[in-house]
């Protein structure tokens, strides 16, 4: 514990230094200053990603992440400009394209990106950004018709029944390889969870496995007819992950503000309200700390 304590003190010292010394002469104005000056916080969210960020009938970007972006901007006293971005091959690419470098096709970066994993190991590998403001814990769950759910033995159940997954996801790969591939042939692929749930509603498959928020949103009004819960996933390192925000390294003042604003949103139950608006049950993130790589390359975490 001593080490962590030391880190905390170190980080706090750095933070207080940053707070006390405003930009020196040759330093550019901080990102936060620029945001306040322009009055706009530019937030990157994924396009076509219900219930987090998608376009409504009128073409506006709506969803949990979009609402959180607007709420954060409001807390900062500015308006939100939401940039719906396409997902590249990996999160590292997305961070490069949208947070610290910009895509090679141009367009620059956003001030903030939402829906980024909040994970110490991941932060260590991505030291060009600061990860802040964890706001949700996503979890792999299975939805099955009520009555089956209580005593679900995945191996037994899925060796008989078809389970729908979204292509190229953790759930997909896990189920394809779990139990030495014994249930591989029962896995049915869909391009998104919405389509998988629709197939389940039509009775074409018995279950859908995937992230809780996406499944709950897709179930919609029929949520009561299905049991949604986590299953045992032996062999898998994790079946849940925290989501937070990322800002470019160096924009510490902005990171602090976003962290504060997000904490406030959580404490005011604004987050659970936003999730409820999209028929998703809010899950508290497991950690609520600032994860960043300090100049010495160490990970600091503080409450």
């Amino acid at each position: 514990m001593y080490r962590i304590k030391e880190l905390l003190i170190f980080a706090a010292a750095i933070a207080s230094l940053m707070l006390q010394s405003p930009a020196t002469a040759d330093e550019e104005p901080s990102a936060l200053d620029r945001i306040r000056e322009r009055g706009v916080l530019e937030v990157a969210v994924y396009n076509d990603f219900p219930p987090f960020s998608f376009r409504d009938e009128r073409g506006r970007i709506v969803g949990i992440d979009a609402d959180i972006a607007r709420a954060l901007a409001k807390s900062l006293g500015v308006s939100a400009a939401i940039r719906a971005v396409g997902a590249d091959e990996s999160m590292e690419d997305d961070l490069r394209n949208n947070v610290w470098k910009g895509h090679y096709l141009g367009g620059g970066v956003a001030d903030l990106m939402l829906h980024v994993p909040y994970d110490g190991a991941f932060a260590e590998e991505n030291d060009r950004v600061i990860f802040v403001a964890p706001y949700y814990r996503e979890q792999i769950v299975v939805a099955v018709e009520k009555g089956v759910g209580a005593s679900l033995d995945p191996l037994d159940y899925f060796s008989r029944e078809k389970v729908g997954v979204e292509l190229d996801t953790l759930t997909d790969f896990y189920l394809l390889s779990a139990y030495n591939g014994k249930i591989r042939n029962q896995v049915v692929h869909f391009s998104n969870i919405g389509k998988a749930v629709a197939a389940m509603k039509r009775g074409e498959i018995a279950a859908v496995a995937g992230p809780r928020s996406e499944i709950e949103f897709a179930l919609g009004d029929l949520a009561d007819s299905y049991a949604v819960g986590p299953i045992r996933m032996p062999g898998l390192r994790t079946s849940g992950w925290d989501l937070g925000a990322a800002v470019k390294k160096g924009n510490s003042a902005l990171a602090e503000e976003v962290e504060k604003a997000m904490t406030q949103l959580r404490q005011q139950s604004s987050l659970s309200k936003i999730f409820a608006n999209y028929r998703s049950s809010y899950q508290l993130p497991s950690q609520t700390k600032l994860v960043g790589v300090e100049s010495n390359g160490r990970i600091s975490q503080r409450d």
């Binding site: 376009r55 073409g59 719906a84 141009g106």
Partner: protein, 261 residues
């Protein structure tokens, strides 16, 4: 609100000063435009030209929105017109629109982008090979041609491109067609955004007969709103494409409601 329609011809007549015919040769350009001789040479060629107030060119004297300056050109007082050409002399791209009226009245309504104060001119070719020219000056703040279209700023423009809303109105002896087509109409003058505009639109009836034809150029405003007076028909098919070959296809018909709705 019948009176609106009744008053319209009166109002329009008042806006035209007289019916006098100026012979272009020896007659000064009524708009006193420095570009006129150039325009004449490059756009109208060697054909004889007269200034003719019988062509009505309606447009605001001062453009409130230089990206959307409304214009109506009506050359129907000339009788038969084989081609109608609209150009904005001080725009970086002069040609705005061309019409082959065919069965339609030589009348077209649209909106344009203007870069600065400019004469907006309409030239109508009559079967005797004579160009009749009229126009008016629109004062403008500018920037219309070198500002990116709003559509370009919206990452979703591609998904609505080519979407049409439109309606037919029957009048005496003719059917008025008004339609709006979603299209960015990029001029190509904004760095990094190539010219991208609707090229040609054919207006056909249900039997496939071509009623009229329009050629659009870069200065036509984003999401063009077009107005034509066609022969009486219950439905009009619009077929066209932009300069990238993206098709524009729609049937606009009279019945507002149908059992299946």
């Amino acid at each position: 609100m019948k009176r609106l329609i009744h008053h319209l011809p009166l109002v329009l007549t008042l806006s035209c000063t007289s019916n006098a015919l100026y012979a272009e040769q020896g007659q000064a350009d009524p708009l006193d435009s420095t570009m006129w001789q150039d325009m004449r040479r490059t756009l109208l060629g060697d054909a004889p030209v007269v200034f003719d107030d019988r062509i009505r060119v309606l447009a605001p004297g001062d453009a409130e929105d230089s990206m959307n300056v409304p214009v109506l050109v009506d050359a129907s007082a000339l009788g038969e017109v084989t081609r109608l050409l609209v150009f904005a002399e001080l725009n970086p791209i002069h040609k705005v629109l061309e019409m082959e009226p065919l069965k339609a009245k030589p009348l077209v309504g649209f909106r344009i982008k203007v870069q600065q104060a400019t004469p907006i001119r309409a030239a109508a070719l009559t079967p005797d090979g004579m160009w009749h020219v009229a126009g008016r000056i629109v004062d403008a703040a500018g920037g219309g041609c070198t500002v990116p279209s709003l559509g370009s700023g919206n990452s979703d423009w591609a998904s609505r491109m080519g979407e049409v809303i439109g309606r037919l109105w029957s009048g005496k002896g003719s059917t008025r067609l008004r339609l709006r087509i979603m299209h960015p109409m990029d001029t190509g003058l904004v760095p990094g955004i190539p010219a991208f505009h609707i090229d040609q639109l054919d207006f056909l009836d249900a039997s496939g007969e071509r009623l009229s034809r329009l050629f659009l150029y870069e200065p036509v405003a984003e999401n063009p709103v077009l107005t034509l007076d066609l022969p009486q028909r219950d439905s009009v098919t619009v077929l066209g494409a932009d300069n990238n070959g993206n098709p524009i296809e729609a049937i606009i018909s009279k019945e507002i409601r149908e059992a299946e709705l």
